[in-house]
């Protein structure tokens, strides 16, 4: 009898042992993630900047407009919090497994009683919990809106549910890419492509439409799009509608949550499969990669070696490293898709409903262009941050330094290569802006201004990444450092959604600082240039235009100085 009970209890004891082992992974990973100074800094910066903005707005507007203020704060938070989580979640999860592989600890863990599925699940839980701490840091800002009134409690709950969905999706994508790919930087980029960039562009642009009161009905969006693709941002849009007017479909959010849960399960199963194959050689991704053009490790049949096609070897290398190593999507397909979908929706809405309001179109246009700039900044940072650090790790930096090329040539060539590789994003922006111009809601000088502003910002970001790359200990260190810079600055995106409030700020110095912040500048600058060219009395005037010109000049000069300092640092590495 006793032995049969013992036999019956064996699976449970086994499960308990495995759970205990997995919990150890969760505990170690969670504590390691949340206690990183970078993570603490992001958490603090997000909370502090958000609180500051709310305080500023509260000071600016008071009295009889409490409901309006409450709704405005809530709407901004409902846009910003999920957006930030969508950007941060993949970055937090992407190093989870690949860093263990790089450090050689993955095989040690897999040799323990922890199964691959338990391992990836533990990684998912720990990183999700870490993101949850960020959500908790942001929630007080949204909760302020409840104090002002005008926002129903269920709308608040829906935003939390939506944010957690985005967090789960982002973390799962990060874990999946981390299990499949071989370096942290590859995993970061792939996780973004999978989880963030696709949904972020259309979501943010649509959110901007919604902010502008454009009121594109959900059925128009659903008719214009494939519902499956649209799930994340339709859910978001729906939630925003709910916050504004209550006229939304609550079931859509829960349907979205169910879809996310399914996607998470699939992602974790695929990740576990990849981890389980760790010792058996090729996984699914490797097999797929072999058939993709331009990828390392595939058969060279059909491609012949060719000479340097951009004239300068470093420039060529920079472009190849950034662009050709990710030919499948190249980081552009999803933004292009997002921009085109948004423009298509806009066109459909105009044709169907007969809207013709230039101001609202203009807000939507600059929002879309601004998001493209942010993506470009991220891409340039990713490319330049891994450039020199990767050269150093593989040992090829010494090979370059012994050639007759000068350090300045290597530094500036690397920067230019990354910028050239990112230039298609500017092309997407011009295409998107062109459609808005055709509709009649934007001017050609506005688009050209956006190109100039974005180029200055991209150059600055690239120079920053280059500097980080040269002084970093390893490519992973450089990538994490650069993403830290990006997320630190992206907290200022909060400001971008208060652009109207910025234009009405009384203190000129604070206004200048707010305008010059990287996430605000492309929005405000493009808007200002468009307004000046359209001679609109409601929009920013010549003074603001000059402010933008000075800010752009500042970024350009800073970029040049940073690039030269990078070259000097490269030279100093000989000491």
């Amino acid at each position: 009898m006793g032995s049969s009970v013992g036999r019956l209890g064996r699976p449970f004891r086994s499960l308990a042992r495995k759970s205990a082992a997995s919990l150890a992974v969760v505990e170690r990973d969670f504590l390691a993630t949340v206690s990183r100074s970078r993570f603490v800094a992001i958490r603090t910066a997000v909370a502090a900047i958000s609180a500051l903005v709310v305080a500023l707005i509260a000071i600016e507007r008071s009295g009889s407009e409490r409901d309006v203020i409450g709704r405005a704060i809530f709407t901004a938070a409902a846009v910003v919090v999920p957006l930030l989580i969508m950007l941060i979640a993949p970055a937090t999860a992407a190093p989870a497994i690949v860093s263990e592989r790089e450090g050689g600890t993955l095989s040690l863990v897999l040799a323990s009683p922890v199964s691959p599925l338990a391992f990836v699940t533990a990684k998912f839980i720990s990183r999700f919990l870490a993101i949850l701490t960020l959500v908790l840091a942001m929630l007080p800002v949204a909760a302020v809106s409840l104090l002002y009134g005008g926002v129903p409690l269920n709308a608040f709950v829906e935003v939390i549910v939506l944010t957690l969905c985005f967090a789960a999706l982002g973390v799962a994508c990060g874990i999946l890419m981390s299990a499949r790919l071989r370096s942290v930087s590859q995993a970061l980029l792939a996780a973004y492509l999978l989880a963030a960039l696709g949904p972020v562009v259309p979501t943010a642009i649509l959110a901007a439409f919604d902010q502008a009161g454009f009121g594109v009905p959900a059925e128009v969006i659903i008719e214009s799009l494939n519902v499956t693709v649209a799930v994340p941002f339709v859910a978001w849009f729906n939630t925003l509608q709910g916050a504004r007017s209550g006229g939304h479909d609550p079931d859509l959010l829960y349907w979205h949550a169910a879809v996310v849960a399914g996607a998470v399960v699939i992602a974790l199963l695929l990740a576990a499969r990849a981890v389980a194959r760790e010792s058996t050689g090729e996984g699914l991704w490797t097999q797929v990669r072999r058939f993709l053009p331009g990828r390392a490790g595939r058969s060279s049949g059909g491609r012949r070696s060719r000479g340097v096609f951009l004239g300068h070897p470093i420039l060529d290398r920079g472009v190849r490293g950034s662009l050709l190593s990710h030919p499948t999507l190249g980081g552009y397909a999803l933004p292009l898709l997002g921009a085109m979908i948004t423009a298509g929706i806009l066109w459909t809405a105009l044709e169907t409903l007969g809207f013709n309001r230039r101001g609202e179109l203009q807000v939507a246009a600059v929002a879309g262009l601004g998001i493209l700039t942010a993506l470009g900044v991220l891409r340039v940072l990713a490319a330049t941050s891994r450039s020199i650090a990767s050269e150093r790790r593989r040992g090829s930096l010494d090979l370059l330094l012994v050639t007759p090329m000068r350090s300045e040539e290597i530094a500036i060539g690397t920067l230019m290569g990354a910028l050239l590789a990112t230039s298609p994003l500017l092309g997407i922006g011009v295409l998107y802006g062109g459609i808005i111009v055709a509709i009649g809601g934007f001017s050609v000088p506005g688009i050209l201004g956006w190109v100039v502003i974005s180029t200055a910002l991209l150059t600055f970001a690239g120079a920053l990444g280059l500097r980080a790359s040269i002084t970093a200990r390893s490519p992973t260190h450089a990538a994490l450092r650069t993403f830290g810079i990006f997320f630190g600055s992206i907290a200022a995106i909060v400001l971008m959604f208060f652009i109207v409030a910025i234009t009405r700020m009384d203190n000129d110095f604070l206004k200048f600082v707010a305008i010059a912040l990287p996430p605000v500048l492309p929005f405000y600058g493009t808007w200002a240039l468009d307004s000046v060219s359209a001679n609109s009395s409601q929009m920013p005037g010549t003074e603001q235009f000059l402010t933008v010109v000075f800010a752009v000049g500042g970024y350009a000069i800073s970029a040049a100085l940073l690039a030269l300092r990078s070259a000097a640092a490269l030279e100093k590495s000989r000491d």
Partner: protein, 318 residues
């Protein structure tokens, strides 16, 4: 002969740790110089200083009479540097890799195409031109590294641990390649832990330990400087198991003025230590044949590079 490499009082200090102490070294043009020493002895630091990658804390280093610090831009075209890591771009084909570095060395147009074809032929990588660099074996990777070094036809090759990690066949192939470069008149500075390879590839050696150069010069001179014993191993045919023939050899040379000592080696073998100043040892064979003994084997055993290294790093050379 002119000097390809000249170093005087070279010192390098990394954050308080002295990697090189007052190093003096001269390597003549056309020499193959084997640089040997334990890990952390300062071999790579010396090579990196010569390659203009590291600035010395003191002293002077010249390549073909040009100061590597003051005129590093003029030195770069003269040297081919091959580090101990391959330094390959995993997304390139072999041809692209060479194109890239040829461009970095400012070789353009037709000369570039011609030069790449030449180095591919020399390193026997012609068939691999369109192969991904990532898929090359370690041996082929080393050959590609050497091909890259030779693109700009440098006069001096600085090879840091080129034989590390190679299997025996790849090692033999690489050795042949190095010997071919010697025949082409290149000056080679090769650091290695595989001392037998150094003995086969180089005519001069330098032994470094804890940043100090203990010995530099021809291998033969090192043997002489060590006062090495000259031992001749002789084997003769034995009819039975009583070592009669071997004993006859011992009797033959006992008391010979050129012989310092002798002893039986077992199974028809005799070991004879002769005076180090005796150059011609052919009298041994002549005497054995004249005594009507059947000579099967005669060889002079000398100190290997390993032996020299062990002697020198134990402080036996002042």
């Amino acid at each position: 002969m002119s000097l390809a490499i000249h170093i005087e009082g070279l010192t390098k200090v990394y954050r308080g740790t002295t990697a090189l102490r007052d190093l003096d070294l001269s390597i003549e043009a056309g020499d193959a110089f084997g640089f040997i020493g334990p890990n952390g002895a300062g071999k790579s630091t010396t090579i990196k200083i010569l390659a203009t990658l590291v600035r010395p804390s003191g002293g002077r280093a010249e390549v073909c009479g040009i100061d590597v610090v003051r005129r590093s831009d003029d030195v770069k075209p003269l040297i081919g540097y091959m580090p101990d890591v391959l330094g390959i771009y995993d997304d390139m084909l072999v041809g692209e890799y060479l194109e890239f570095f040829a461009a970095a060395y400012r070789i353009r147009g037709e000369p570039r195409r011609k030069r790449i074809a030449e180095v591919l032929e020399l390193t026997e990588l012609g068939e691999k031109r369109d192969a991904p660099v990532m898929g090359l074996s370690r041996g082929m990777g080393q050959r590609l590294g050497l091909a890259r070094c030779l693109l700009h036809d440098p006069q001096v090759l600085l090879l840091d641990e080129p034989a590390a990690g190679l299997d025996p066949r790849a090692r033999i192939e690489f050795k042949e390649l190095v010997l071919q470069l010697r025949r082409m008149g290149k000056t080679l500075l090769i650091s290695s832990h595989v001392l037998s390879e150094i003995g086969a590839m180089c005519n001069t050696i330098g032994i470094i330990e804890q940043g100090r150069l203990l010995y530099a010069g021809p291998i033969d001179e090192a043997r002489k400087k060590l006062g090495a014993e000259r031992v001749i191993r002789i084997r003769v045919h034995e009819e039975g198991e009583d070592d009669r023939s071997a004993n006859a050899v011992l009797d033959l040379f006992r008391g010979h003025p050129d012989v310092e000592a002798l002893k039986p080696g077992g199974a028809g073998e005799v070991l004879i230590r002769i005076r180090t100043d005796v150059e011609d040892t052919s009298f041994l064979a002549r005497e054995i044949v004249r005594a009507d003994l059947q000579l099967l084997h005669l060889e002079e055993t000398t100190l290997s590079v390993e032996d020299i290294f062990l002697h020198v790093t134990q402080g036996r050379v002042a």
